[in-house]
């Protein structure tokens, strides 16, 4: 078994992920909000204490998730691209190691949402005839370099499928 892939993601990925996780977590607070609305407007049986307790627990969970998960995710992510294959390792609990022969690659693209863009980051998406893989949150120049590298190697390997 060879060693883990050697490149890491951009360190600012952690901050970017924290923001996107935070936004996602906001939706969780719709639960206590809905409960509060029901008890306030309708024939509420729920005591305010219960709702506050639930909110408190959610705040703690969300805080832990926002603080730890992006950090762990960053630590576990590594990738490597050479002329023959793309080697990816990722996962928070379940560690997945993926190997994609470069000549199987059908297309590569980079994409960025508003959060990633504000950090100057981009995802690289690699598609084969069967699967799609993503290297998340690379610095823009790195992402473009990786994309061009893969597409160059893929073109060099002439055969398809």
């Amino acid at each position: 078994m060879r060693s883990s892939p050697k490149n890491n993601l951009s360190k600012s990925a952690v901050s970017a992920w924290r923001i996107s996780t935070f936004i996602f977590m906001l939706f969780l607070f719709l639960i206590p909000l809905a409960m509060w609305m029901i008890s306030y407007l309708g024939s509420g049986q729920m005591s305010l204490w219960v709702i506050s307790a639930i909110t408190f627990v959610l705040v703690v969970i969300a805080g832990l998730v926002i603080f730890f998960i992006p950090e762990i995710r960053w630590q576990r992510w590594s990738y490597q691209v050479d002329e023959h294959e793309i080697d990816l390792q990722s996962g928070i609990l379940i560690i997945t190691r993926t190997l994609v022969p470069v000549k199987r690659v059908q297309h590569v693209d980079t994409r960025q949402g508003p959060i990633l863009r504000s950090y100057g980051l981009a995802d690289v998406t690699i598609s084969t005839a069967a699967t799609t893989h993503r290297i998340p949150a690379l610095e823009e120049e790195t992402a473009e370099a990786v994309r061009d590298r893969i597409s160059k190697f893929a073109r060099l390997a002439k055969e398809d499928v």
Partner: protein
């Protein structure tokens, strides 16, 4: 055929039926909910729907034209949004000519043109006279590879010898052991649960009292279970019979031609160089009799069902290798003695995994259904299945071929060429980490999504070894005479 043409008017009817089939459940819902109790009202609804469908069918027939020019098939269609579809003939992978019930009544055929990756729905000319269809096919084919398709008499003679068909006896065995029971069971079960919509409880009680006065509630439960099973078996028997009626595989120079079906004759063409993997399925009910089903995974094209194509529905395990040798010799492999299996310590994980689904089912049945306590039978059955899954998991390599087998319910052995792998993965969750185990997953192209084969809980070094072997594929590059896939050659330019 150089000016735009319309299909045969029958296409209007088939289009209407297609829409009906596609939205069957929606329409049923509208009929039952919107219809209410009044019979006349329901009648209006039905008439309205039929008229609407026919109008839609006629409109789409009017708006559908196709033409063949400069080696390109040009289809224009769409009632409100006009769509133009241009298919260059060198991108066309497969041209299928088939005939449904309606088409057969009028002596017509359906032509489906398929390209890699794209959905084939659009490029379907649903009603055409057979002569025109053949003309279209030959013209498109000619544009692809001129002389190759020119019929060589010697070649033709050779072809005729290589047709494998399913005997009537085997067809009956296939139908009676088909794995469609599960699907059928759920349909029949659902139908049974809806029965009180049509017959009131009193009527049922009355029927039971007059016809079976000495029956107890226990025997009634048993009887209804038995009748559900029997009805679903009949259902699956009949549908399988219809699907695989007159099944034959015609081995040609560059492709396999599979035809089947009782009412709807379906013809599938699979070029050899599109084949990505072969699967040997040993169904629960067939395994004891030594029968297997052969399935092909092919790229960018396949049947709806999981995007794989049945190569042969039923074949004796002993004869299978002879058949493969003649039809697909490069896939004639079997698990060797060097097979790598999950280590002993993995058995525990295989057994525990079955509890994840069996325990909840048992508990729910126990609590909710009368006599649900008998659901505990599932526990030993599940554990037995887990043990079998452990026994049947394995992987080995020979030459440039990977043979990988695993069991969900039925045992599946996949034979995959190394140069066909799209991606390979190793997975490890924290429990597996503690026990030094890993899952290995290989992905091949199949249909539009691809298919994966996996073996769970291999020893960490073994999984790593196979992963490494798959990684070495660039070192042994066989000459693959592939047709380009999706990326036009024009894009392959040297830049550095």
């Amino acid at each position: 055929m150089s000016k735009p043409e319309r299909q045969h008017p029958v296409a209007a009817i088939t289009k209407a039926l297609d829409v009906l089939r596609g939205n069957f459940i929606t329409i049923l819902l509208i009929l039952f909910i919107g219809g209410g109790d009044e019979d006349t009202f329901l009648l209006y609804w039905i008439v309205g729907v039929v008229v609407l469908l026919l109008v839609w069918g006629v409109l789409s027939w009017l708006r559908f034209t196709f033409e063949l020019s400069e080696g390109e098939l040009r289809i224009e269609h769409g009632v409100f949004v006009r769509k133009k579809l241009y298919l260059t003939s060198d991108r066309i992978q497969v041209i299928d000519i088939s005939a449904g019930v309606i088409q057969r009544m009028f002596g017509l055929v359906t032509v489906e043109v398929k390209t890699a990756g794209s959905s084939s729905k659009e490029a379907k000319i649903s009603a055409l006279s057979r002569e025109k269809a053949e003309l279209l096919k030959s013209e498109l084919r000619q544009a692809v590879n001129g002389e190759e398709e020119g019929v060589d008499p010697e070649d033709k003679e050779k072809r005729e010898q290589k047709i494998y068909s399913l005997t009537t006896r085997d067809l009956l065995v296939t139908a009676s052991t088909s794995g469609r029971m599960g699907v059928a069971l759920s349909i029949v079960g659902a139908a049974f649960s809806q029965i009180d919509q049509f017959i009131s409880d009193e009527e049922i009680y009355q029927f039971i009292e007059t016809n079976m006065p000495q029956s107890t509630s226990a025997s009634l439960v048993v009887m209804s279970i038995v009748s559900i099973v029997v009805i679903s078996w009949l259902f699956s028997f009949i549908t399988t019979l219809i699907t695989y009626y007159d099944f034959s595989v015609d081995v040609r120079k560059n492709e396999l031609l599979i035809s089947r079906g009782l009412f709807e004759r379906i013809q599938l063409t699979i070029p050899f160089n599109r084949i990505q993997a072969v699967q040997i399925k040993e169904g629960l009910m067939r395994q004891p009799f030594g029968y297997v089903t052969l399935v092909i995974e092919s790229a960018g094209y396949g049947e709806k069902e999981g995007n794989s194509t049945v190569l042969f529905p039923l074949i004796n395990k002993d004869k299978m290798h002879g058949f493969l040798e003649e039809v697909l010799p490069e896939y004639n492999y079997e698990m060797t003695q060097q097979e790598t299996v999950p280590p002993k310590r993995a058995l525990r994980r295989y057994l525990i995994r079955t509890l994840w689904w069996s325990l909840p089912i048992i508990l729910i049945a126990w609590i909710t259904i009368p006599y649900g306590v008998y659901a505990w039978i599932l526990l030993p059955l599940g554990l037995l299945l887990g043990y079998q899954q452990y026994r049947d998991a394995g992987v080995c390599t020979e030459d440039d071929t990977l043979i990988i087998s695993a069991r969900q319910l039925s045992k599946k052995t996949a034979i995959v060429k190394r140069y066909r792998m799209q991606a390979t993965q190793l997975k490890q969750n924290p429990f597996q980490k503690r026990m030094s185990l890993r899952d290995i997953i290989v992905h091949v192209a199949s249909g539009n999504q691809g298919r994966s084969f996996s073996v769970r809980d291999l020893a960490i070094q073994d999984a790593g070894r196979y992963w490494q072997w798959l990684a070495m594929q660039h070192q042994t590059q066989p000459e693959v005479q592939d047709t380009p896939f999706d990326q036009p050659d024009a894009e392959i330019s040297s830049e550095d």
